[in-house]
Amino acid sequence: MLDAAFFRHWLTSAAALVDREAQRLTELDSPIGDADHGSNLQRGFAAVVATLEKDAPATPGAVLTLAGRQLISTVGGASGPLYGTLLRRTGKALGDAPEVSEQEFADALRAGVDAVSALGGAAHGDKTMLDALVPAVDALSESFDAARAAADEGALATTPLQARKGRASYLGERSIGHQDPGATSSALLFDALAQTAEAGRG
C-alpha cells in the first residue's frame, strides 16, 4: 500500500530530478519551444517541495492535489496547468483514503492523464507530454519499473514526430527531429516514481 509519505517522496524525488535535468529540458525546448521548460518546472517543483514541507498533507490525495495547485500557480508556462491538472485530478480520484493500493493509484493516474488530454486537446502521437504519460500509465499496472521504461521509450519516440499542439506546432515540419521537452519531463516523473518505489522496498 502507498501512503502520503510515499507520494511526498515521489514529488521530492521528481523535484530533484527536474532540478538536475533543468538545463537539458530547456535545451530541448530551445529549437521548438520558448526555451523555458526547465526553468519553469524547476520553479514549480521547488514550490511544491516547499509547500509539502510546510503543510504536510496527511493523505495521498491531499499531497497530490496540493502539489497540483502549486504547479498551476507557480510555473508560468503551459506545463503548469498541464502538470497541475495531472496531479490534482489524480489526487481527487484517490479521495481521502489514508493509503491506496498500486492499482488504485494506476487507475487514478489514468484519470489524471485523461484530464490532461482534455485540457490541452491533445492525444498520443501529437508530440506532447502525453506521448510519455499514456504508455507509462498503461504499463503502471505491471510495475513501476515498466512504467519508467515505457515513459522513456515514449519520450524518445517523439523525435521523428511533427508537433500538432502548442508553440512547436507553428514550426510544422521543422519540429521533426527534436525530442519533445514535455514528454521528456514526464519521463522524469516516472523515473522518480520508480526510484521512490525501489527505495521503499529496499
Partner: protein
C-alpha cells in the same frame, strides 16, 4: 439595482504590455459614457512573458460586479491556465467564463457589448462573433 451591473472583462496575454494595450484600446473604442470594468492580466508577476494564475485571479476579483466575467486569452498557457482555474471551481468568482474569441477583436466586441449593458451570454456571443470578421 441589479440591472445596472455590467459584465466584467479580463484580458489574459503572455505579455503585460499587450494585455494593458488591448484593454486601453477596447475601452477607448467603447466610446463615452459608462464603460464596463476591464482588467488586464498579462505576463508573469515579475514582468516576464508567460501566464500568472495570481494575476488572473486578482483581475477577475477586480472586475467582478456579480453580472459575470468574460475572460479572453491569447494562446498556450494563457488558455490552459484559465481553463485549469475554472476547473478548480473556487479560484475565480462565480460566473467567470473563458470566451472563445480572437484576442484583440474579441476584446473590443466584448467591452462594447458589456458597456451597453449586455448580459454575459450576449457579451460572449459578441466576442465569438468577432471570429467571423474576415479581413480579405
Amino acid at each position: 439595482m441589479g440591472d445596472d451591473k455590467l459584465v466584467g472583462i479580463v484580458l489574459v496575454s503572455h505579455s503585460g504590455p499587450v494585455a494593458e494595450s488591448v484593454a486601453a484600446l477596447a475601452t477607448g473604442l467603447a466610446g463615452g459614457g459608462t464603460t464596463a470594468p476591464v482588467a488586464a492580466a498579462g505576463g508573469t508577476e515579475d514582468g516576464g512573458l508567460g501566464t500568472s494564475s495570481e494575476l488572473i485571479a486578482a483581475a477577475a476579483a477586480k472586475v467582478d460586479g456579480g453580472a459575470g466575467i468574460a475572460i479572453l486569452t491569447d494562446l498556450g498557457s494563457a488558455v490552459l491556465t484559465v481553463k485549469a482555474l475554472i476547473a478548480e471551481g473556487d479560484e475565480l468568482p462565480e460566473g467567470a467564463r473563458l470566451v472563445d474569441a480572437p484576442f484583440v477583436e474579441g476584446a473590443v466586441a466584448a467591452v462594447v457589448a458589456a458597456s451597453a449593458g449586455a448580459d454575459i451570454a450576449a457579451v460572449e456571443a459578441a466576442a465569438v462573433e468577432a471570429y467571423s470578421y474576415r479581413k480579405v
